[in-house]
């Protein structure tokens, strides 16, 4: 039965499932990466995702406008990010704990709003698949890669874009400097707080879009606690990817594809306990990181509040 796993259907299935499952991770983890590169650890991703998912869903339900939905998600994400920024940058609160607070707040709020404003789940018309001309017609590959919805494409475009911003722009230079040595950046007139506000807000926005990608693009429903811990996985993937966009891409795809693989293992009736199958992606992620030789060192100023003396 194991050999059933090596058929074209299964492999194509795993890759295309992996791409879909990886989409929210990419948004959330890339957003988190920007925050961490500038020195802010945000453990509240899960809460931001849930609020984003809810808001986008709610807006589509009421207005049927996907554009408004994404704008609303961006707005909510930005607010959550700013709040996190205020608490950790201005008030220099312990970042990890503040993040847990925002996680609980976001989870509670999204559930509360859902219960009060909606109540009963409905299916909505979310982003539909867009076939890329020509590329979408390539057999197999076209189906896997070029017939996805807009938010999936954007998630994967985000990876090189993030790499570019980080490594090729003055903003990216500031972000890296602020995360490594805020004092030095400050002495050159870089506004450390502003840079961090920017990255944390960006992180909030991207996490929120990650949630929206679930509720209005991939699944087109909202359910309480629907992210089911994905926000925490996203944070873990930043470590896995050594704070680099392509590393995160690799981690997100690995985790997602192994998750898809475990579904196939169950579907094909390979006799292992379902729980073992479910824990496979978690075990593998740890294993891969344990055995990999290149492990990045995190930004030196990660979780350290910056305050100018005097």
């Amino acid at each position: 039965m194991i050999k059933d796993l090596f058929t074209a259907t299964v492999i194509i299935g795993i890759i295309s499932s992996g791409i879909r499952l990886a989409t929210p991770y990419l948004y959330a983890a890339i957003g988190e990466m920007f925050g961490q590169r500038s020195g802010v650890l945000n453990l509240g991703v899960e809460g931001q995702m849930l609020l984003g998912a809810f808001v986008a869903y709610f807006v589509v339900l009421r207005t049927e406008s996907l554009l408004l939905a994404i704008l609303a998600a961006i707005g909510v994400g930005a607010l959550m990010g700013l709040a996190m920024g205020f608490v950790t940058i201005q008030l220099q609160a312990t970042q990890g704990i503040a993040g847990i607070g925002f996680y609980l707040f976001g989870m509670g709020m999204s559930n509360l709003l859902f219960q009060k404003l909606i109540g009963v789940v409905e299916n909505i018309d979310g982003f539909s698949a867009i076939k890329i001309p020509l590329l979408g017609d390539i057999p197999v590959i076209g189906e896997i890669f070029f017939r996805q919805n807009l938010l999936v494409y954007l998630a994967f475009l985000l990876v090189p874009l993030a790499w570019f911003v980080l490594n090729k722009t003055t903003l990216g230079l500031k972000i890296r400097a602020v995360g490594e040595n805020p004092e030095a950046a400050d002495s050159l007139g870089v506004n450390v707080a502003l840079v961090r506000y920017f990255t944390v807000t960006l992180g909030g926005i991207l996490s929120s879009i990650a949630g929206a990608s679930l509720s209005v693009a991939l699944l087109n429903v909202f359910q309480q606690n629907m992210t089911a811990g994905q926000g925490f996985i996203a944070v873990a993937l930043v470590y896995f990817g050594s704070w680099r966009p392509f590393g995160i891409l690799a981690g997100a795809l690995l985790f997602s594809m192994v998750n898809a693989l475990q579904l196939w293992i169950q579907v094909l009736g390979i006799p292992i306990p379902s729980e073992l199958a479910v824990m496979l992606p978690y075990i593998l992620t740890i294993l891969v990181l344990t055995l990999s030789l290149t492990k990045g060192k995190g930004p030196s100023a990660l979780t350290k509040a910056f305050e100018r003396e005097g």
Binding site: T94, I97, L104, F105, G108, A236, E275, V278, I286
Partner: protein, 389 residues
């Protein structure tokens, strides 16, 4: 000493300021609840009724207070582990998983041996819980120390793994024989022998775990500030290269810090089984068993300024908040999601209040010497580096 002018504020005033500061978390909690009052109003609930219900539910009666204490036990235990981990500069967010593994191991032992005297089994079970948690915490420690795997990543992943192990064990090898026969097959273990239950302190659900946890808090205090092991963990946590220079095996103590903090979480898991539920039941998630104590314990420790002794009242207050909030939900019938949101607000406000505490503290601390190129004293966390004497 030079002309540097020491701040000469009145000592009584200073003491008042110090007391004021230590109540900062409580003020922050009140502030968060005030914000919560807005939500309550929006939900057509009377905030005064709601919050009296909260207070009543947490501290209003003997039974309510007992419930608060029951809730506080796992928070305190996880919080103690957090104190150790924090001193060793490791971030353990795997309390949920460690509680589960500790509970699984101790429950398995309790169900396997049915003829032991109660006190003996409870002792063995406690050790089993500690062992389970220690393994589940020590593993990320080993991965961090020897394989450079970030512990945030590994503890998050290991939480998820522990849940699946629990689900498997409770529907498979450890399932209640009665349920194995039944059609519904509720994923739960058999009940522990009466004799194996943690003795109750007063005629409520409050069990002896509270006393054990308090004794352990004192022991953690002693461990951290009176023993060489604690000294070493703190040294490694504060400055690895200086610790290495001091002849301390840095890697070993990173593992130990995580292992010990896991052990406390494991014990918390054991106590939930032996003191409260008398069996393990799963709803498929970690929270169903732990009640988020693996996370909330971290918050409780922070309430307690990461000091094991202050974590005792902090856990009780935080436990009271959780119990009271549930009671408030019942009385004013607001959706329970509000409770979660409130919980989050309280955490955010409390952690933010540290800023104000630090600021006023900094004003109080007179600078010691002016020789040091006039640098301001960077006293961020009084108490965190304080030693025993």
């Amino acid at each position: 000493m030079s002309q540097s002018k020491k701040l000469t504020s009145h000592p009584a005033k200073k003491r008042f300021a110090a007391v004021f500061d230590s109540f900062m978390p409580i003020f922050a909690t009140i502030a968060a609840l005030l914000v919560g009052a807005i939500f309550l109003l929006l939900l057509d609930a009377n905030p005064i009724t709601a919050y009296s219900a909260l207070l009543e539910g947490a501290f209003g009666s003997f039974n309510a207070f007992a419930e608060t204490l029951v809730k506080a036990i796992p928070l305190l235990l996880v919080g103690l582990g957090t104190c150790i981990a924090y001193r060793g500069s490791v971030t353990n967010i795997g309390g949920e998983g460690q509680m589960i593994v500790g509970a699984l191991l101790s429950t398995w032992i309790g169900l396997s041996f049915t003829n032991l005297p109660g006190w003996l089994m409870i002792t063995i079970a406690m050790l089993a819980g500690i062992l389970g948690g220690a393994v589940w915490g020590g593993l990320p420690g080993v991965l961090k120390a020897y394989f450079n795997v970030n512990e945030i990543l590994s503890t998050v992943m290991m939480n998820a793994i522990a849940v699946q192990i629990m689900n498997y064990m409770l529907r498979g090898p450890m399932i209640d024989p009665v349920q194995a026969e039944a059609a519904s097959q509720i994923p739960q273990t058999a009940r522990l022998e009466m004799a194996y239950r943690l003795p109750r302190l007063v005629p409520t659900r409050l069990h002896i775990g509270l006393l054990i946890a308090i004794i352990l808090a004192v022991m953690v205090y002693v461990l951290l500030w009176r023993t060489t092991l604690g000294y070493r963990i703190r040294a490694v946590g504060q400055n690895q290269s200086a610790a290495k220079y001091g002849g301390i095996d840095v890697k070993k103590h990173i593992v130990l810090a995580l292992l010990l903090s896991g052990a406390f979480a494991g014990l918390a898991g054991m106590m939930q089984v032996y003191g409260v539920n008398y069996r393990m039941i799963t709803d498929g998630s970690a929270t169903g068993f732990t009640g988020n104590a693996g996370f909330n314990g971290i918050v409780a420790a922070l309430f307690g300024q990461l000091h094991p002794l202050i974590t005792i009242p902090a856990s009780i207050l935080f436990g009271g908040l959780l119990v009271g909030a549930n009671s408030m939900q019942r009385i004013v019938q607001v959706p329970s999601a509000l409770i979660t949101a409130l919980n989050g607000l309280v955490v955010v406000f409390v952690v933010s209040s540290e800023y104000f505490r630090r600021r006023s503290q900094r004003k109080r601390i007179a600078f010691i010497e002016s020789e040091d190129e006039g640098k301001p004293p960077k006293e961020r966390s009084e108490g965190l580096g304080e030693a025993a004497s």
